[in-house]
């Protein structure tokens, strides 16, 4: 101790010389090199970790994208259908109710029989009918209902081919397999080949995927209903979770006294963020649906359940954002005589808002991908209409993906991947928006 306090010139010289020696010995050099090597090793571990993560991500994305690719196109066939007066409106009543009840499927079938007149066997005729999607019936009815003057005429329509032939046209069915192992028999192949040679088959962009509702038939199924359901659900979630979450955060951060009670609330909010989402689903089922009798499968209940889940995320992010507003700003406002409420509403909250919004968007992105609790409140329902309100039965994007993934038809595999692509796009856009907000309003004090 005393040496350090009063170093003699001698002492300094010795110490300096000593230092030089210590750091030049072979052991010291070896030690240093070991240190450099371990540093380098550490860096490589890090790089290897990142490389592994990125390659897995790429494998995932590439596999989904390549699966989804075929869902964005659809195989159509153009046929001339005779809108036979006798079938559609035998009494020439012109009554839409009568026309609506007519069997348009028969018209489509007759068209096929006319195209391939030598098919007469009942089994073969059934195989022939399988060329067209059941959607042909709806399309014909829509056309004729729109324009009743078509009755008695022959119209040319372009309709979806059924899933199997769609897959065949996309090259996803191996024609070289033995007939018994194919979903399409040799006779059907010959009809298909004939249609192709006559130039009646074409591939179009699959608009129906974006504009349609769910369907039992993959060639007729779309994600629009699920997307609308998701939007309605998110709207309920945002409308509840944002104001409640921000209000709770402001109270806890700015006004609440520090005592055991607020400490307990804080701990529980953090716990809530870690509760498995299925538990929230059970809660929603028990409380909202069974106790309060709210409509099953509705975006209202789904949104409320998700809002419960998103609340902790928003509260925690908002509190962090409020905390990040420097005390000097609060003091400045207090110093000119602002009241506590004015300090918060004029200064702290506006300054924290970008952080709060970032947290909210991230919370909403999580909510958008949430599936399990929505299964519990019945949003896994099979519904072929677009929901038009908060109490209509509906499904949401991730649940739609879940239910499509369970269907055996080949077409649904592609649809599942395509829907995942859409969901991922939304998530990426939302997260990018959050990052943009954070960067744009980032403030250095």
């Amino acid at each position: 101790m005393s040496d350090i306090a009063e170093p003699t010139p001698m002492g300094i010289a010795q110490a300096t010389a000593g230092h030089r020696d210590i750091h030049q010995t072979p052991e010291a050099i070896a030690r240093r090199q070991r240190r450099y090597r371990s540093e380098a090793r550490f860096k490589y571990y890090g790089i290897a970790g990142i490389a592994a993560a990125i390659s897995m991500l790429i494998v995932l994305l590439v596999s989904i994208a390549s699966e989804s690719f075929s869902a964005f196109t659809q195989t159509f066939v153009t046929i001339d259908v005779n809108i036979d007066q006798a079938t559609v409106d035998p009494n020439e009543s012109g009554d839409p109710a009568v026309i609506g009840r007519a069997s348009f499927q028969t018209l489509a079938n007759n068209t096929l029989y006319a195209l391939f007149p030598d098919v007469s066997d009942r089994r073969d005729r059934r195989a022939l009918r399988a060329l067209l999607s059941p959607g042909v019936e709806f399309e014909l009815r829509r056309r004729v209902m729109d324009d009743p003057s078509l009755v008695g005429q022959t119209i040319s329509i372009t309709v979806e081919m059924s899933d199997d032939f769609d897959q065949l046209h996309k090259g996803l069915i191996d024609r070289t397999l033995p007939e018994a192992q194919r979903r399409i028999n040799d006779l059907q192949l010959s009809w298909y080949d004939q249609l192709v040679s006559e130039g009646l088959i074409e591939t179009q962009f699959n608009w129906r995927f974006f504009s349609g509702a769910n369907s039992r038939y993959p060639e007729l199924a779309g994600i629009w209903a699920a997307l609308v359901g998701s939007l309605l659900t998110m709207a309920v979630t945002l409308g509840l979770a944002f104001p409640i979450g921000v209000a709770a955060a402001v109270y806890l951060e700015e006004f609440a006294p520090k005592n055991w009670f607020t400490d307990m609330i804080e701990v529980n909010i953090n716990n809530l963020a870690a509760v498995p989402s299925i538990v929230f689903g059970l809660l929603g089922l028990a409380v909202f649906i069974q106790f309060f009798g709210m409509p099953n499968s509705s975006p209202l209940v789904g949104g409320m359940v998700i809002a419960l889940m998103t609340l902790p995320t928003i509260i925690i992010a908002s509190r962090a954002a409020l905390k990040a507003v420097p005390p000097s700003i609060r003091e400045a406002a207090l110093g000119v005589g602002a009241s506590k409420i004015q300090v918060v509403s004029h200064h702290v909250l506006p300054l924290a808002m970008p952080g709060i919004l970032t947290g909210t968007i991230i919370g909403m992105a999580q909510a958008l991908g949430e599936t399990a609790p929505l299964l519990m409140v019945g949003m896994v329902i099979f519904i072929t209409s677009i929901p038009s309100g908060f109490t209509d039965p509906s499904t949401v994007l991730p649940v739609q993906i879940f239910s499509w993934a369970g269907n055996p038809e080949r077409g649904f595999v592609a649809l599942t991947s395509a829907a995942i692509m859409v969901l991922l796009t939304f998530l990426i856009v939302m997260n990018a928006l959050a990052i943009y907000l954070r960067k744009k309003f980032e403030r250095r004090w």
Partner: protein, 266 residues
Amino acid sequence: MSAQTVDAEPMAAVGQAKMTARDVDVYYGEKRALHSVDCDVIENEVLSLIGPSGCGKSTFLRCLNRMNDTIDICRVEGNITLDSQDIYDKELDVVQLRARVGMVFQKPNPFPKSIYDNIAYGPRIHGVSSHKDDLDGIVQRSLEGAGLWQEVKDRLAEPGTGLSGGQQQRLCIARAIAVSPEVILMDEPCSALDPIATAHIEELIDELRQNFTIVIVTHNMQQAARVSQKTAFFHLGELVEHNLTGELFTNPKDERTQGYITGRYG
């Protein structure tokens, strides 16, 4: 007034006491930060608070506009008055008190808003003026009062945070005087500034004395000597000596004061 003692009492006779502190104790939780401080602030004078760091200067200053209320663990005992009215009275409106006793902080802390809005904020929330022309007048007079008008009159819409450190501090002074306070508290207002900006602020303080009563914390003794009429020396939470500035620096009564001004500690 040659019979100055370490006691503050006799000086009250010199001028009108704007604020008085009697037997003020401040605790942060269990820790006692001020020990029965008695001190008067005379109207239209500048009072400097000096002393080694951690001795309680800021704590005392923040008692004068109840800024300590915002610290949960802080407890103030004793009696502090503004124009003979107890400012710790339950009935008293803190918002009004802080409008009458303004504050300038150590680090310039303009709002992240325009220069204009920085100044106009106080008058707006107090409803002093809702009229645009009135407000423009207040903004101009306040900036002139803080010696900043010439420099910023063409860029009132630009953010206050874009000014230099010294300008920001003068902006904060302008913001404080915009609400027409009677007393201005300044906590080491120059400690973050360069010497030229400091000189600027010191001149300004001398001018402001005409219209305001000022209490300034500084750990720069030359600054205390230059700007203040009275100086109070704090040590370990006690007000050791309170006297005319010249007197305190040339003829300290207490040996702790002597030790501090001769640089034995601080």
